[in-house]
Every structure is written in C-alpha cells, then in structure tokens.
C-alpha cells in the first residue's frame, strides 16, 4: 500500500542528493586517480568552503552565486597549498606506509578544530540559493535543493568535458594512468598533480558551499559526507568516473528508498552496509580497474 507519490518523492530527493554526492565524490576520485592519494581531509575542504561561503555573504554581503565562487577559489587555493606543503614527499616513493592516509587524517583534525576556534562551535546557515518549495503535482520539492542539484550537474558536466577534451584534461588522465611515462613524454607531472589536488579540493568545496546553504554549516559537517564519498568511490571502483557517478546516484536513492523498506533510523548506515557487501563480492568495487 505504498503511495505512488511517496515513492516518487523519494526518487526525486534521492536523485538530487545523489547529484550532489557525485560532485563531491568526483573530487575525491580525481585526487585518487591523478595523485594516487587518499584524501582523508576531503570533508574538511567541504566544511571550510561552506564557512567561507557563509562568511562571504554574511560579512562581505556577497550574493549567493558570488559567495559560491569565493568558496570555489578558496578551496582550490587550499588544495594547492596542501599539495605543495604536505603531499610532495609522497612522490619520492620513500614515504612511510600509509603516509597519505595519515597526513590527510591529521590535517583533517587540524582543520575541524581550527574551524571551531575561528568560527565558534555554533552552527550557522548560509543564505540559500532559493527558499521555499516548488509544487509539482502531489509533490513538494525544495527549490533550494533542486537548484543546487542542477548546479552540481552543470559543474560535473563541465568538468567531464574538460577532462575529455582539453589539453589539461588529457594531461590529467595521462598522469593518472602512468606518472613516469607521462613525465618522460614531457608532461609537467608536478604541476598536474598540484592542479589535480586543487581541482579535487575545489569540487569538495563547491559541494560544501551548495549543501551548506541547504543544510547547516558546522565544524563537523564534513564527517558524514566524506564517509559517503569514500563509500561511493569504492563502490564505483576507484579511478572510474563512470563508476563514481553511478554509485553516487545509487547511494542517494538507497538512502531514501531504504527508509521506506527498512528502518528509517539506520539511514546513514545503509551506505556502509552496502559497501561491505559489495567489497566482499567484488573487492575492487563495481567498476573497479578502469582509470580516469
């Protein structure tokens, strides 16, 4: 006796959330693909950008789009900075086991608590791109969410086109496939790596600014989305863009439909449960093995 409009609401909400998850997960996938690094501070890029977006509109009076752009620029610069300062030892190949994991993990801790010190532990809310809701027949869809999801789709499409068609995009893919050979062929792999991290962080940042205006900005807001991003890229198969996108949509849908068919309280656990199940069957994820 499930209401059709209820299921439709779930599908739409799932799709919207999935699009935004995809944007963030893509950033993680990019960093992983090009630099072969696991970025445990991804959630903190997301969170800090949300704060910057909030600060831009609250203190500087920027309109939502301008705040978003500010947040994008910030996240990109932060990514570049982090890569130059912390990641470069990784390339020498002499780094400690799990260097990337550990150092980004530590960085994450610093960033979270720095945010608490700088912005205070209160949550804040950034002004939404749009408020209220749109009525589509029996359904109500939050207009802010819809707009954010559309923006996410536009940005992702742009990024994918860039990766496929521009020189930089090709350089990114080449470095992802084989760093040494690309270097030998004349690609400035260090520059590409820095760019890759910058762009990856930027994607997390955009997602943060978008979602911060829908939900709430708080120092620990990045933890769960970061976890979900990891679930997505692993599910989709690390390094596969197609896989990431599909897995993101799947997760968005699962979290909503799961509430309908299983317990609503376990919502945040579904992603993790599915992850374990999938990895048990296919240890490299659904589409694992492909590169960027």
């Amino acid at each position: 006796m499930v209401d059709f409009s209820v299921v439709l609401s779930y599908l739409i909400n799932g799709l919207m959330m999935g699009c935004m998850y995809a944007l963030m997960a893509l950033g993680l996938a990019l960093i992983l693909g090009v630099l072969k690094i696991v970025n445990f501070a991804h959630g903190e890029f997301y969170m800090w950008s949300a704060y910057i977006s909030y600060a831009a509109s609250h203190f500087l009076g920027f309109n939502p789009i301008l705040s978003l752009i500010t947040a994008m620029a910030f996240a990109f610069l932060l990514g570049v900075l982090v890569e130059k300062l912390l990641i470069t030892p990784f390339y020498t190949g002499k780094a400690v086991e799990n260097y990337d994991l550990l150092i980004t993990f530590g960085l994450g801790i610093v960033l979270v608590n720095l945010a608490v010190s700088v912005f205070g532990p209160y949550q804040v809310s950034a002004p939404p791109l749009s408020s209220g809701y749109i009525q589509m027949g029996p359904l109500n869809v939050s207009s802010g969410r819809l707009l954010a999801a559309l923006l996410a789709v536009i940005l992702m499409t742009t990024l994918l086109l860039v990766i496929k068609n521009t020189t930089i995009g090709i350089a990114l893919r080449a470095t992802a496939q084989d760093r040494e050979v690309s270097s030998a062929m004349g690609v400035n792999v260090n520059l590409i790596s820095t760019l890759g991290f910058g762009i990856g962080g930027m994607l997390a940042g955009i997602t943060g600014a978008l979602l911060g205006s829908i939900f709430i900005v708080s120092p620990t807001m990045g933890e769960l989305p970061s976890g979900k991003s990891f679930v997505i890229i692993v599910l989709g198969g690390m390094g596969s863009i197609k896989g990431t996108l599909i897995a993101a949509i799947m997760l968005g849908l699962l979290e909503n439909i799961g509430v309908l068919f299983f317990s609503p309280s376990y919502r945040d656990a579904y992603g993790f449960i599915v992850l374990i199940i999938v990895l048990l069957i296919r240890p490299t994820g659904l589409f694992g093995g492909e590169t960027l």
Partner: protein, 321 residues
C-alpha cells in the same frame, strides 16, 4: 630481538608502582588513562604497524567490550572481573569477524572496510537503544570502591601483562612473519607464508587486548557510550601511535603517555588543544615519519656512541703517550 630489557624495565616498573604515593587524585586519573591508552595503542600497532593493515576499528573493539562486559554484569549479576574476561574473548571473536570481512582487501580498501565497520557499529548502538540505551550511554558497575588506587594497580597489571605478551609474540617468529608480510607481500607469499592466516592472527591479538582495555574502562569510568567509538576517539589513538613512532615497540607507549599528559595541559587552552595535537601529528608525519621516539633515540644513541668513540680515542691517545 627482545624489546624489554630487564635492566631498564624493572626500574621503570618500580617507578610506576610508586606513582600513587606521589601524585594527587586527578593526576592518578591521568596516569590510569595513560595506561589504558598504552594498551590500546600498542595493540593497534600490532595490526596497523607491524602487520601493516591500517585499521580504524580499535576504538570500536574497546567500546564493544565495554558494552558486553557491562551488559553481562548488569543482566546476569556476574562480577566485573569475570565479565572482563568474557568481553575480551567476545571482542576477539569480533576481531576475527572483521578480519574475515577484510580478508580480501588491501591498503585503502582495508582501511575503508574498518571505517564502515566502525560506523555501522556506532549507528547500531545508537539505534538499538532498548538494549544499549543508545547515546544515553550505559551505566556500568565499578570494579572497586571509591578510591582510584586499586584501579591504578589493576590497569598497571593489565598493561604490564599486555606488554609482556606482545613482546613475546612480536619477537617470536610470528612477529617476524608479520613484518615480512608487511615489507614485501609477494616475497613472503612466494616462500609459502599464508598471508591470510597471519593477518587473522594480527586481528585476534589486536582485538583481544583492546577488549581487555575497553572492559576496564567501562568499569572505571562507569559509563560506556557510542561516543567512544567515533572517529575522534580513533584519532587520538592513531595520533599517539604515529607521534610516538609506529615502527618501534616502545614508541607508541611513550606516545601514549606523553600525549595523554600533553592533552591535559593543553586542555586549559580550550578548543585549541585538538588543533595543536593535529598540527603536531601532521608535522611529525611530514618531517619525522618514523615518529618522535625513534628520532630521539637516534639522537641519544649517536650522542652515546660519540662519547664512546671520544673515550676510545682519548684512551688510544693516552696509551700512545
């Protein structure tokens, strides 16, 4: 290659035994927490350091043990000493389960599996509040009376036990095999080492001690809650191990005590203390990836060697003269 030289372990032990005579109540509490963390960190190190399998589930193990021990004590009226042992064994089983789940996973996948495992556990505890009282936490039964001193000696006993057993295991062929697998898996498997079996062993060892420590903590702080199974709780353990020095045996020990006390001093700075902790961790990994203790060790031993060499040279010159 034994790690515990009696010449130095015994004076250290004596010092520890005398601690309650010198310090006041609250400081004793910090010592107790330090000892708890020593067990947590060294057992974590077995899996993540020696065996090279990055795990984020250590805090989950200890919290699980806390719940098992508490629930058994409350519902069946068993004494906490007995429930501690049962909890440790149950945690061992949980560790085995996690090991099985992670069996085919490597590197980042392995880490993620442990994270997923930890998150599912935490969420389950929260949701099944009828049994666990969810985020309210479960009030536990104390091991002793009001005074902290019996707790201190009890955890000291557990810690010494843990270190002794771990030392035996890690200096034995098992420890060497684990190291070999970590260094070069392909080479190890090519000479016939059953990598999976040894990984499971690492999981078992790592989890059983975490279980002991976790049960202790529950009956000491008298509260067990899902908060002890969060990423932040895990972060402290990892920070202690990394800053102390992942590869060595005593590195994590010193990391645990050092950081616990450091955190207490830093607590007066309010929220900044975690920032400082994080920065230290990042700096250490960046510039001293082996850890603080091995680095200091090198400095001290170079100094000692230099003294020896200078002494030898002096003697040589003297004898020549």
């Amino acid at each position: 290659m034994k790690h515990l030289h009696w010449k130095y372990a015994v004076p250290a032990l004596i010092l520890f035994l005398l601690v309650p005579l010198f310090v006041e109540k609250y400081t004793l509490h910090i010592f107790i927490m330090s000892l708890y963390y020593i067990i947590m960190v060294t057992s974590w190190n077995v899996l993540s350091g020696y065996a090279g399998q990055m795990s984020f589930a250590q805090a989950t193990f200890s919290t699980f043990a806390g719940y098992v021990s508490t629930l058994l004590a409350i519902n069946f009226g068993l004494t906490p000493f007995v429930t501690t042992i049962i909890a440790a064994l149950a945690t061992c089983l949980l560790g085995f389960l996690l090991g099985v789940i992670c069996m085919k996973s490597q590197g980042i996948y392995h880490a993620l599996m442990t994270i997923a495992f930890a998150q599912i556990f935490r969420i389950t505890i929260n949701i099944e509040y009828k049994i666990t009282r969810g985020s309210l936490g479960l009030s536990s039964i104390p091991l002793f009376g009001i005074s902290k001193i019996p707790y201190y000696y009890y955890i000291l006993f557990l810690t010494v036990l843990t270190l002794l057993i771990l030392d035996r295991i890690l200096s034995s062929p098992i420890g060497l095999t684990l190291r070999a697998i970590k260094e070069d898996k392909t080479a190890a498997t090519s000479i016939g080492i059953n990598e999976i079996k040894y990984r499971q062993i690492a999981f078992l060892i790592s989890s059983v001690f975490a279980g002991l420590a976790g049960a202790f903590l529950a009956h000491y702080t008298l509260i067990v809650s899902p908060e002890s199974a969060t990423i932040s709780a895990m972060a402290i353990i990892i920070a202690m191990a990394i800053i102390g020095g992942q590869g060595s045996f005593f590195g994590p020990v010193i990391g645990a005590i050092g950081l616990q006390f450091l955190m207490e001093y830093l607590r007066d700075f309010g929220r900044l203390y975690l920032v400082i902790l994080g920065i230290i961790m990042v700096l250490v990994i960046r510039f001293l990836p082996e850890g603080v203790v091995p680095k200091l060790s090198k400095i001290v031993s170079t100094y000692l060697d230099r003294k020896k060499i200078i002494k030898k040279d002096l003697n040589f010159v003297k004898n020549k003269a």
